[in-house]
């Protein structure tokens, strides 16, 4: 299999069926199942184009995204879809799906800037998305930090890759080991509500204590007892202990139960944010005072030196 990319920047992609034209601007990412490009359409709108050598995966993703836009009820559940078409590339047919380009910051970067106390707020939003998705009879499957972006201005989370969405009762299509309960030996790889709940718990740990993931997966073999140990002793997870242990013990198995356990953490997070805001304001003002007085001192000093 060649490692060359399908498209180059500047190239025009014309759909065989709908004849819409897209100009490729650059590669956004590539995975096992295809490549995603940033493109512009004929009206200059910037979009995301996912290309793959097989039509079925894209056709399914298109179907599920269409379905989600119907049940989203105002929530930005999935990216909006615009086109599904074929293209001829070097004598071979390739398939593509054109969607809204979701812009935003990655979760770790967002939390680094705004503070870890935002974690419960982000997870709460994911709970809402997952609930809507579950109503359609599907699990998200590959829930992970890399599949979420935050729109900074609103602090709103968006899910970006729906390739892992799997009907309940079937084997999960795409998964990532750290988030996969089967990998940890804590259940099957069946698409069920609690499969996503487990991934949510692992997402919390990955966001609150990022170094744990590396430490616990280094050997390539899951170490469930060290995971439990970390959850019960790591100071950063102290407030989350009840929730996380609840998920591991099977006490918290539904999104609504997860949400119940999450709410006190959200409240604490909001309180902390308000405090931070109050604390931040006067400090900004005093900062200016320090800088200002420093400048004055320097000017005085210069004058002293120059006009001596």
């Amino acid at each position: 299999m060649s490692s060359d990319l399908l498209f180059r920047p500047g190239q025009t992609v014309t759909g065989l069926w709908h004849k819409r034209r897209y100009t490729v601007e650059g590669l956004l990412g590539r995975g096992a199942n295809g490549e995603v490009y940033r493109v512009t359409d004929s009206s200059g709108q910037t979009l995301a184009l996912k290309a793959a050598p097989l039509s079925s995966g894209l056709a399914l993703e298109h179907k599920i995204l269409k379905r989600l836009s119907e049940v989203a009820r105002g929530a930005d559940l999935g990216p909006r879809v615009f086109d599904l078409d074929d293209v001829q590339v070097g004598g071979q047919k390739q398939f593509f799906l054109v969607m809204e380009l979701v812009r935003g910051t990655t979760l770790p970067a967002f939390l680094d800037r705004r503070g870890r106390h935002w974690t419960p707020v982000l997870l709460l939003q994911l709970c809402t998305y997952l609930e809507r998705l579950h109503e359609t009879g599907n699990a998200f499957g590959d829930l992970k930090a890399e599949n979420c972006l935050v729109e900074e201005a609103r602090g709103a989370v968006r899910l970006v890759d729906f390739g892992g969405v799997t009907p309940f009762g079937r084997g999960v299509k795409e998964y990532t080991e750290w988030y996969d309960r089967a990998w940890w030996g804590r259940g099957s790889r069946m698409a069920e509500e609690d499969y996503d709940v487990f991934a949510l718990a692992m997402l919390a740990i990955a966001l609150l204590a990022p170094d744990l993931r590396k430490a616990l997966t280094e050997s390539g073999v899951p170490n469930g007892s060290r995971l439990r140990q970390a959850v019960s002793s790591d100071a950063r997870l102290a407030d989350w202990r009840g929730l996380l242990q609840g998920v591991f013990d099977g006490r918290v198995r539904t999104i609504s139960a997860f949400r119940q356990e999450l709410l006190p953490l959200v409240k604490a997070g909001v309180r902390l944010e308000q405090k931070e805001k109050v604390r931040r304001k006067p400090r900004d003002w005093t900062d200016w005072l320090v800088v200002g007085s420093g400048l004055v001192l320097m000017l005085v000093f210069c004058q002293f030196v120059l006009f001596r």
Binding site: L60, W183, S188
Partner: protein, 248 residues
């Protein structure tokens, strides 16, 4: 009719070029003629997978009607999952395409893109319900030595994925070369959960890489295996009936 479909796959895991016995590409061509898809994973860390090895990996898969990937050992589990999944879908897609051609005179790609979702869903479902016969052929030449624990872990992981399918699966495991200097050794016959214990015991220093004989043996196993009753033990859900009823 789809219940009678048995998907036959060989998944070859190697980190080097073949240097013993028959030509692996010819063996793959033969396997393909028997309706078997040959997937190949080349492992890159350590070992001697130079460009000749890479080319061979690609050539075997291409002639065997399967896929090939060159990956690091830690990506092995994911790659095995993805390949097995993809290949099952491709096999069913071919069956469905033949049906479609008879019914509406075109295959899935001849349908307008937005109409393919239904077909894709059907294919998805069929490949979950059809029977799978899989032979894992693991290179156990000297350079693979320290990767075998990872391989074992990856096979266990694949097993977890197969266990949630509705359709039955039978997995056999063979190593090349074998523990006693033979080219190929079947260390676990077709079973629902292959015995992996032989995978570490079958180690020996040195020995060539008889990839061709391994593919030939895997092909024999699959041909013989398909004569055993292969009707899936269905875990019936409420709308499980005759699957041909689902076609269009």
């Amino acid at each position: 009719m789809f219940q009678k479909v048995t998907m036959k796959q060989i998944l070859l895991i190697t980190d080097g070029c073949s240097n013993k016995g028959s030509d692996p590409v010819q063996a793959a061509v033969y396997a393909r003629k028997q309706g078997i898809a040959v997937n190949v994973i080349g492992i890159v860390d350590g070992g001697d997978l130079r460009s000749a090895g890479r080319q061979e990996v690609e050539a075997i898969a291409e002639h065997g009607g399967g896929m090939s990937r060159i990956v690091a050992a830690k990506q092995l589990a994911m790659t095995m999952h993805m390949m097995t999944q993809h290949t099952m879908q491709m096999t069913i897609q071919q069956v469905v395409n033949r049906e479609l051609k008879q019914l509406v005179g075109t295959d899935s790609e001849g349908l307008p893109p937005e109409k393919r979702g239904e077909v894709a869903e059907l294919v998805d479902r069929m490949s979950d319900e059809a029977a799978l016969h899989l032979v894992l052929a693991v290179d156990t030449s000297a350079s693979m030595h320290d990767k075998l624990p990872t391989v074992r872990e990856a096979i266990r992981d694949l097993q977890i994925g197969l266990d949630v399918r509705k359709g039955m699966h039978q997995v056999a495991l063979l190593t090349f070369p074998g523990a006693h200097g033979e080219d190929v050794q079947v260390i676990s016959e077709f079973s629902h959960a292959p015995d992996l214990s032989g995978l570490s015991n079958s180690l020996r220093a040195g020995g060539g890489t008889p990839t061709g004989p391994a593919i030939e043996r895997a092909t024999q196993l699959l041909i013989a295996g398909s004569h055993t009753p292969s009707r899936p033990v269905q875990k019936h859900d409420e709308h499980d009936g005759d699957m041909s009823a689902y076609v269009v």
